[in-house]
């Protein structure tokens, strides 16, 4: 009945994990930018995760997640051959991809995985893609080889300088925008402060900047409005109007506040789960 985990790889042990899940009906329709809602077990919470890759022939989708709370911690206890109870999708509007010239794709943290799917789409559409990925240190960089396999221009930024530019992705982006003749679009996916910083960099250059919002969602299909955000002064739903929006119009401060809505309960859940794990020796 469930959705089988065909492959599980801890990209950064205890922190970031990649899974390949059997979900043929989702894989068949998935496009870059789409997400899925998934649920581990009958007592679990529905959570949204961006589709990082899909394989129609094999009927699989790939997800990459950061362990931040109970659900993702519980996901880490599942192993290859195990199952998710529910996987629903593909949801959200896919990335708008057309032949437009040079596209700079910026990814940070687990956002690199989602960005990689979008970058692939742009390459397939015939665009020149410059990818910028960043992390604190070299060993925390995700999806580097996957990106390099189809994108010849991958720039790296690390906080400690262990690989590529020493500093932030925004500095690499600034440099590209100053030297490249024409950049048609910048796509940024990653932690909210990173996306916000990218938008600040691109604004003076008046380059179209697309960000993907990771709002809290309950159903993921437009029914509840938990994921509402202010874009250009209007309230929109990340699940059905997004998740991608014009970054120059997004109210990031509101987004950050809304992401903490259930902090107390999330901590309570996590604490309880950690205790249970200790009891079971996991």
């Amino acid at each position: 009945m469930g959705y089988k985990i065909l492959k599980k790889e801890e990209l950064i042990p205890g922190q970031t994990t990649m899974m390949v899940i059997e979900a043929p009906q989702v894989a068949l329709k998935a496009k870059p930018g789409n997400f899925v809602m998934l649920r581990v077990s009958s007592h679990g919470e529905r959570i949204p995760l961006t589709i990082a890759d899909c394989d129609r022939e094999k009927g699989t989708i790939t997800i990459v997640y950061l362990v931040v709370g109970k659900t993702t911690a519980e996901m880490n206890t599942l192993s290859e051959g195990g199952e998710f109870l529910d996987v629903c999708g593909p949801l959200g509007r896919p990335t708008h991809i057309e032949k437009s010239g040079t596209v700079v794709c910026v990814g940070g943290g687990t956002g690199i995985a989602a960005m990689h799917h979008i970058a692939k789409g742009h390459v397939e559409a015939g665009n020149r893609v410059i990818a910028i990925i960043g992390a604190r240190s070299k060993n925390l960089l995700l999806f580097c080889s996957e990106l390099s396999s189809f994108c010849p221009e991958v720039r790296i930024a690390t906080d400690d300088g262990s690989e590529g530019h020493k500093g932030f992705v925004t500095e690499v982006l600034q440099d590209i925008l100053e030297t490249e003749d024409e950049v048609a679009e910048v796509v940024a996916i990653g932690p909210v402060p990173m996306m916000e910083a990218v938008c600040r960099v691109t604004l003076p250059f008046q380059v179209k900047t697309t960000v993907s919002l990771n709002s809290i969602m309950v159903d993921g299909i437009g029914m509840c409005g938990a994921c509402r955000c202010t874009v250009g002064g209007k309230t929109l739903f990340a699940c059905v109007d997004g998740p991608e929006f014009d970054g120059h119009k997004v109210d990031f401060a509101e987004l950050k506040t809304r992401l903490w809505q259930f902090k107390e309960q999330e901590e309570e859940s996590m604490e309880l789960f950690s205790k249970e794990c200790q009891c079971h020796g996991r």
Binding site: K70, A226, F262, Q265
Partner: protein, 471 residues
Amino acid sequence: MADKKKKKIRSRTPMPHQDPMVRGGNFDEVALGYSREQALIEAERCLQCKKPTCQDGCPVNIDIKSFIGCIVDDDLQGAFDTIRRTNSLPAVCGRVCPQENQCEGSCVLGKKHEPVAIGRLERYVADTYAARSACEEVTDLSTCALEREDIKVACIGSGPSSLTVAGYLAGRGIKVDVFEALHEPGGVLLYGIPEFRLPKAVVARELDGLRKLGVTFRTNWVGGKTITVRDMFEQGYAAVFIGVGAGLPRFLNVSGENLVGVFSANEYLTRVNLGRAYDFPNYDTPAYKARRVAVIGAGNVAMDAARTALRMGAKEVSIVYRRSEDEMPARREEIQHAVEEGVKIRCLCGPLSFHGDNQGRIKAMTVQKMALGEPDDSGRCSPVCLEGETEQITCDMAVIAVGTRPNPILLEATPQLALNKWGYVEADPETGETSIPNVFAGGDIVTGAATVISAMGAGRRAAKAIADRLL
């Protein structure tokens, strides 16, 4: 007849309820249901009119006179069969239909006395029938096998309209697959109507009944995303029924509406009902913790949200409504239950803005005081602002229950589907057929937010039209 006229009309048999002081602290069902004795006494009040008017008041046209006659004769099977002939969800309808505007509103007795409690009797029949031994139930099944497995029909959404289509068509021997976007079937019966008004076990029982008729439920299938209408025809479905509900919550467009602690009723109820947040942390989905809750709106959904907030531990819950109590769209019974449980009603208050603390959490709302003016298009007195008269209401949570608008997912994926000027699906009022041949629609996605039974009525009309075409 002469005898009957002289007979004194008994007053309506009251419904036993859980004590208001107790039930505010639990999610158990509020109305407990008639006993056999109570049902008999109530059924005997029915005049068995030669030309009954009640039946016309029922959107699915139940033969009310006959089923009540069966109760009087202690023929439970007959009563159940009579109801099921036109209604596939009697245990649900007996609980949530606004009978006062429908069958009971048309009951002859109601002209001078109180009408027969038709809804309560319907619930009695459905519940008592379902409680019979499993063995008896199995022996009944042979009458209804899938005769026409070569013909299959797809329903998108698994709320009341789709379930009615599925029940009717399966009864006629057609294979029906129901595609549901969420992880459990039932639609609004599951995520919207709370446990204390419609227990999930009752919905599960009705769904099981449909499964026994050969209906298949496919959860996590989003119509328009996972599967489109075109895919369905390519996969051999002979007809498609769209019953996706209205869906998208409306907000007020006032400042502070996106503060932490401001929720749509849909979100609040979905977290508690579908996500079982009332049993957090045993279930992972959390609900917001609040002491003072303002619910904006006065329909049934607003009452559900207010009564849920009380049960979730709020100390003070108010309904904030811009008209007066007479204009409230909720059923009288629901308002009465809410008030009994301690919900405060603040009428003639229109929300102006929400205010937050320095962490972006709601701490109060400002309302505009209103007076009643002339009747508007809806026939209800319209609220008029009393210039300069505002009031602050302290609250740490606000729930907005002011209606819904069409969910765009399926509609955007099906551009050939003609919509009306409000953005809902245009469907033939007789057959439910849309602008796409063999695609039918019914329920809230056609009418905008309405009742369970009107969605079922639309489902029934569409199902008949589909059966007439395919068989």
